[in-house]
Symmetry: C2
C-alpha cells in the first residue's frame, strides 16, 4: 500500500463501499460513504475516494452547487475551458450552478474529498485518456 | 501541548484566527477559519476549533440547519431536552431547523469540527458551568 492509499483508507471518515451506483459516470474505481442524506436537508454530504487514475465524467450541478473539501492524497479539478488544478489535502473547491467540471485522482495517487452537493447533476462525456494523460 | 491540541492545531484545515466575532456567544476561546462564504451558495463552511472547556451558547438555526463533521479532539453536542452526546473525530451531526442545541470541547480536550450552516442563527443563554461541569 503506498502512502496516499494509506492516507485515504485511514482517513477520518470511513471510505465506504465501492461506488457501484455511479460507476457508469466514472472511469476507474471510486468509493462512496454517505455521511448526510436527509429529506429535510438540501445538501448531501459524502466521503468520495478515487484510486489512482480514477476520475468522474464531466458533469454539471443544475439549480445547485458542489463544495469539495480535499482530505487525502493528490488529485485534479477542472472546469470547462480552464486548466486543471492540482488538489491537495486542505484545499477547498466551490463549483457554482451550471459549471461543467470533473474531479479525480492523479495517475499515481489516491485522492479523497468530502463532497457537499445541492441540486441535480447532469452527467456528460468522460475525460478521455488523452486529455487526462497530458496532466502533470 | 497535549495530544488533542496538536491534533486540532495540525488539522487538515488551518485553525484560523481567534473567534472574536462570535466571542459573545461562546464561553472560552474558540478559533474560526472560514472555508466557504459565497453569496451564490446557501451554506457557509467553517473550520471551528474549541480550547478545553470552550463551548458555544444554546442556539437555533432558523430556516436552515447545521451539519458538523468532527475532525479532531473530543467534544460534546447536546439538543435541548436530550442527554449530551460525546463527539469524536469522524462523527457527523445534523441539527434540523428550529432545534435548540450547543456544541463544544470537553473539559480536558480541544475539539475541532467543520460546520456546514444554512439559515439564520438565534443565540440564546450560555451553557452554565453547573450544567457543563456535570458532563463526563
Amino acid at each position: 500500500m503506498n502512502d496516499s492509499e494509506k492516507e485515504v483508507k485511514d482517513g477520518l471518515f470511513a471510505i465506504g463501499g465501492k461506488n457501484i451506483a455511479f460507476q457508469k459516470n466514472f472511469i476507474g474505481l471510486s468509493y462512496h460513504n454517505s455521511l448526510v442524506k436527509d429529506p429535510d436537508i438540501n445538501v448531501t454530504v459524502s466521503n468520495v475516494s478515487f484510486e489512482p487514475s480514477c476520475r468522474n465524467n464531466w458533469h454539471i450541478h443544475h439549480n445547485g452547487y458542489q463544495i469539495l473539501l480535499v482530505t487525502g492524497g493528490e488529485g485534479w479539478y477542472q472546469e470547462w475551458g480552464k486548466p486543471a488544478q492540482k488538489l491537495h489535502p486542505g484545499d477547498v473547491i466551490v463549483t457554482h450552478d451550471g459549471v461543467k467540471h470533473w474531479h479525480g485522482a492523479t495517475k499515481d495517487s489516491w485522492m479523497s474529498h468530502i463532497a457537499i452537493t445541492a441540486g441535480t447533476p447532469e452527467w456528460l462525456e468522460p475525460v478521455s485518456d488523452e486529455e487526462y494523460g497530458q496532466l502533470n
